[in-house]
């Protein structure tokens, strides 16, 4: 007759151990008695009942237990020991803490960067319901995606789909001179339909969002208003825009933050202003000119996909173009991160960098964790005795694990504090490089949660290996001195070093390739001469149509070698056409050409090279109906002898009189845009003045003379100019930013990895002090010892290089695919990166190994 075993086990689980014996004894005795009295079945019930009665707080294991991890006294002891260990090994502690804090600082920076990228455009309250209307055109080159659309489309969408769209606005970005009395500034801003402020939920400081209803009104951003009016109230003041339109300020809105696509929106003016000369509404109803962006806000019940399908053919019905424009909606949440399209399909964009930098952040943090793990395990031999004694005294494994974890958490906590200081220090520089305005989000609960979460993660990752590994030592073996790490013990450590260097070398190779690509594009022959070439926007009516006066005045100063006007600056092409027809053209296909209107002096000013035929001349009045093509355009038409051919465009015949060598006017990474040049100002307006400065004068002096001329002819505009070479350099900004960031992270990765091997090397040297002493006594030279101590690390680094080469090749090959004009990934880059890593490693290790090799053997051998 036995009491129920399950109940017994339950009792054992809950009962305080020091009382278990008597209670269980009593229960058993009572059970035997009850069996005799009421029978087995009821005795069992009673037994269960009694056991359950003991599951009460008083009997539950508490103060009596000696194996609690959460015992506050023991915890305090853990941290005390951890702290003493840190103080005792100052060198290792420094390496650990500095490595970890740098790793964490990088992770925090990257975290902030990713947060900033992901939070783009969320400033607008309706950000999840706003989309831009884009069109896909089927061209000879494939499907191209454009954002520029004709103005009447906005109205068409608004009136035909009132159920789907809450509002639709046409929008056009423009740089305009804003003038109030004698204050004049050029500001970027927009002309938009009146619902725009409401759609983008601009935060009004004064006035209302409805301020644009009146066609002679304007909304200003806070900073623009401040610049124009200082501290006086801007409302109802009258200002001039572009020295042409007189408008009244009807509202001031808060500046848009840095992480919006509309940042720097200095003013919003009614779109009617643009059409104020257009009395017969022919321009307003023109479906042929695509120069507006169209934003739409959906009603709550409509979905982007459905509406995209509905509006697909709206534009197509209004155009004769063979390019079959298909409209679709590009949601605001994807504007920033998914801005690239290829063949009409979204192919990502900056989201790739979010992933890339996220990955780098994780890896850099991992490198720092690896340092911690490596140094702890390497020093484990020293602490093996400690573990042995602890175990012999009665520590349980869980306590030793707790001990090592509290050490790692202490280090992590110190690094965490230090990393905050580092981030605070580096943030301004980082912001500048990354072109951001990020701040530490001190008041954001999510930030703290994430930070704590990730330090916990770091603590666990960094501490897990030593904690689990060291605690597994057998006390008997360790204390008897039979304990040896053996050859296998160092293998995990070596693997981790290989991981570290693989990551570092990959980052170095990546940085090298990015900079090679930039350099490659910079060295690309651009086909014209940027030297002393400046560009001035024709932003007021005073400059229009006064070419000869301006030209004569400028040449009279002697500061100008030559001057011309064109419809685009030298570093961009602002207009294009896809309705050119020529002999032998496939009638079913359309090809896009850049179109630039120039004055005859343009060729001389930019210094283009005529390949065939001649350039424009004022001596031939017929030249107003001629084209000059660039090589890319000739190639696109497929004409064998282009000079003398005619091209049909806008119902007229245009004769090709010459071919110029390709000029890189748009992205230096893309192939040259097929471009036609013309003199005919009826087709394209001249809006950019090109000036070649006289090389005999210094640029500063020349500009001073220019300014007096412009002040005289165009008194209402500030004198603003752009150097072509600066504009060209700006085209590399995105790539240079990536290069700098990658370089920054690669540098830190190498730094952390080197800290790690520095620590390991010093440990190895310390371990082998006796061996080195004996070797020296027996006649080993310093060089011999240096080789002996450095060899291991060199082998590891070589292995890392071999692993990282294919990995980085794969990544970079994919990255370079994005560029039409790209550098080769040549083998020497891998060799250079490998040698670089090897050199750094040797320098790091040599410091320790030579120090060890120079040691006096008498000293190292006599002490025992």
């Amino acid at each position: 007759m036995k009491p129920p075993q399950l109940a017994d086990r339950l009792l054992k689980l809950f009962c305080a151990p020091n009382r278990l014996e008597e209670i269980q004894g009593d229960l058993h005795e009572e059970f035997a008695y009850q069996v005799r009295r009421v029978g087995e079945r009821r005795a069992k019930w009673r037994y269960w009942w009694d056991v359950l009665g003991f599951i009460k707080p008083f009997a539950i294991k508490k103060d009596y237990s000696t194996t609690q991890l959460t015992n506050p006294i023991m915890l305090r002891n853990h941290f005390k020991i951890a702290w003493r260990n840190l103080i005792k090994n100052k060198g290792y502690s420094t390496i650990n803490i500095s490595g970890l804090s740098v790793g964490m600082a990088v992770a925090i920076l990257i975290g902030l960067w990713i947060y900033d990228e992901l939070s783009f455009d969320t400033y607008h309250q309706n950000h999840d319901r706003i989309a831009q209307v884009l069109e896909n055109q089927t061209l000879e080159q494939g499907i191209e995606t454009y954002g520029a659309l004709p103005f009447p489309l906005s109205r068409e969408l608004r009136t035909n789909y009132p159920d789907d769209f809450k509002s639709v606005v046409a929008y056009s970005w423009a740089e305009q001179i804003l003038a109030f009395q004698d204050r004049k500034f050029t500001r970027g801003g927009s002309f938009a339909e009146p619902e725009f402020p409401e759609m983008m939920t601009l935060k009004m400081r004064s006035g209302t969002r409805l301020g644009l209803k009146d066609p002679a009104s304007i909304l200003l951003s806070e900073s623009t208003a401040k610049a124009l009016f200082g501290d006086t109230d801007p409302l109802h003041k009258t200002i001039k825009v572009g020295n042409k339109y007189t408008v009244q300020v009807t509202g001031v809105y808060e500046d848009l933050p840095h992480n919006t696509l509309l940042k720097g929106l200095g003013f919003v003016a009614p779109i009617e202003l643009i059409f104020s000369d257009d009395t017969d509404h022919s321009y307003m109803n023109n479906w042929g000119s695509s120069s507006f962006e169209i934003f739409a806000q959906l009603n709550p019940n409509s979905r982007f996909d459905d509406v995209s399908r509905k509006i697909k053919d709206v534009f197509r019905h209004h155009t004769e173009s063979k390019s079959q424009p298909a409209l679709f909606l590009h949601p605001m949440s994807r504007w920033h991160l998914y801005s690239e399209f290829k063949n009409g399909v979204s192919t990502g964009g900056r989201i790739q960098f979010v992933w890339l930098f996220g990955l780098i952040g994780v890896f850099v943090l991992l490198l720092a964790c690896i340092n911690f793990m490596n140094l702890s395990t390497a020093r484990s031999q020293k602490r093996a005795k400690e573990v042995g004694i602890r175990k012999a005294i009665g520590s349980q494994r869980s306590q030793i694990i707790g001990q090592f974890f509290s050490e790692s958490f202490l280090v992590v906590a110190l690094s965490f504090v230090l990393s905050f200081a580092l981030v605070q220090l580096v943030l301004p520089v980082f912001n500048e490089v990354a072109d951001k305005q990020m701040t530490m989000r001190w008041s954001d609960a999510r930030f703290w949660l994430l930070s704590l979460g990730f330090s916990l993660f770091t603590g666990v990752v960094a501490g897990s290996y030593p904690a689990l590994y060291l605690s597994s030592f057998q006390a008997v073996n360790v204390l008897k001195g039979r304990f040896a790490m053996g050859r296998l013990a160092s293998i995990p450590r070596q693997v981790l070093v290989v991981v570290q260097f693989t990551v570092s070398v990959t980052l170095i190779i990546g940085t090298l390739i990015v900079f090679r690509q930039i350099q490659f594009a910079k060295n690309r022959p651009i086909g014209y001469n940027r030297e002393g070439l400046i560009n001035i926007a024709m932003n007021t009516p005073e400059l229009q149509g006064r070419y000869d006066i301006l030209r004569n005045e400028l040449l009279a100063t002697g500061a100008v070698a030559n001057m011309a006007e064109a419809s685009s600056p030298a570093t961009n092409i602002w207009s294009s056409a896809n309705n050119l027809e020529w002999r032998g053209k496939n009638p079913n296909q359309t090809s896009a050409f850049g179109t630039i209107c120039v004055t005859p002096e343009f060729g001389d000013v930019v210094g283009w090279k005529i390949k065939e035929g001649r350039e424009f001349s004022r001596q031939f009045p017929t030249d107003s109906m001629t084209f000059v093509l660039n090589e890319a355009a000739v190639k696109q038409t497929g004409l064998k002898k282009p000079v003398g051919e005619t091209i049909r465009w806008h119902g007229q015949n245009w004769k090709i009189i010459g071919v110029v060598k390709d000029m890189v006017m748009k992205s230096p990474f893309d192939p040259v845009v097929p471009t036609v040049f013309m003199m005919n100002t009826h087709e394209r307006t001249l809006n950019s003045i090109h000036i070649k400065l006289n090389p005999a004068l210094s640029a500063g002096m020349a500009l001073e003379k220019l300014e007096t001329v412009f002040k005289k002819i165009n008194p209402d505009a500030p004198f603003e100019y752009k150097f072509a070479h600066q504009e060209f350099a700006a085209k590399f900004a995105a790539e240079e930013r990536i290069g700098k960031l990658a370089g920054f992270f690669a540098g830190l990765a190498i730094f952390i990895s080197c800290l790690g091997i520095f620590g390991l090397a010093s440990f190895m040297a310390e371990q082998r002090t006796k061996e080195i002493g004996v070797r020296k006594v027996l006649g080993a030279s310093v060089a011999n010892l240096w080789v002996l101590l450095s060899k291991d690390f060199v082998v590891l680094v070589i292995i890392s290089c071999l692993i990282s080469a294919p990995i980085s090749y794969g990544f970079l090959e994919e990255w370079l695919q994005k560029y039409e004009y790209r550098t080769e990934i040549s083998w020497w880059i891998f060799v250079a990166a490998g040698f670089g890593a090897l050199l750094i490693t040797l320098l790091t290790v040599s410091f320790q190994s030579i120090k060890a090799a120079l040691m006096n053997p008498v000293k190292s051998l006599k002490s025992e």
Binding site: R19, E21, E22, I23, Q24, G25, D26, L27, H28, E29, E30, A32, Y33, D50, G53, F54, K56, F58, A59
Partner: protein, 112 residues
Amino acid sequence: MKRAFLGEFEEVVLLTVAVLDESAYGVTVTQEIEQKTGRAVGFSTVHTTLQRLEEKGYLSSKMSGATAERGGRRKRFFSVTAAGRKALVDVKSIREQLWDALPPQTLQLMGG
């Protein structure tokens, strides 16, 4: 005067231990209370009370007397300490004072 504070059940348990003299442990105390008072007493309640009384210093205990029925486990025998005895006497004298103070007719009504 600082007096011992005893709950009603504590008093019963303490008295029972005193009654059982040398043979008071969990099982006997429980069974004795059940027989004498006729009320069903939880096993764990008795154990808790015994432990609490020991903590208060009214009982002392020692382990001995393993039997086969108990699977070789020892019993915890309890005995009343001097403080325990004083507490019992205190309680008793308070009761007697109160009884003595009862008016005679009330005493009669109660059948005393």
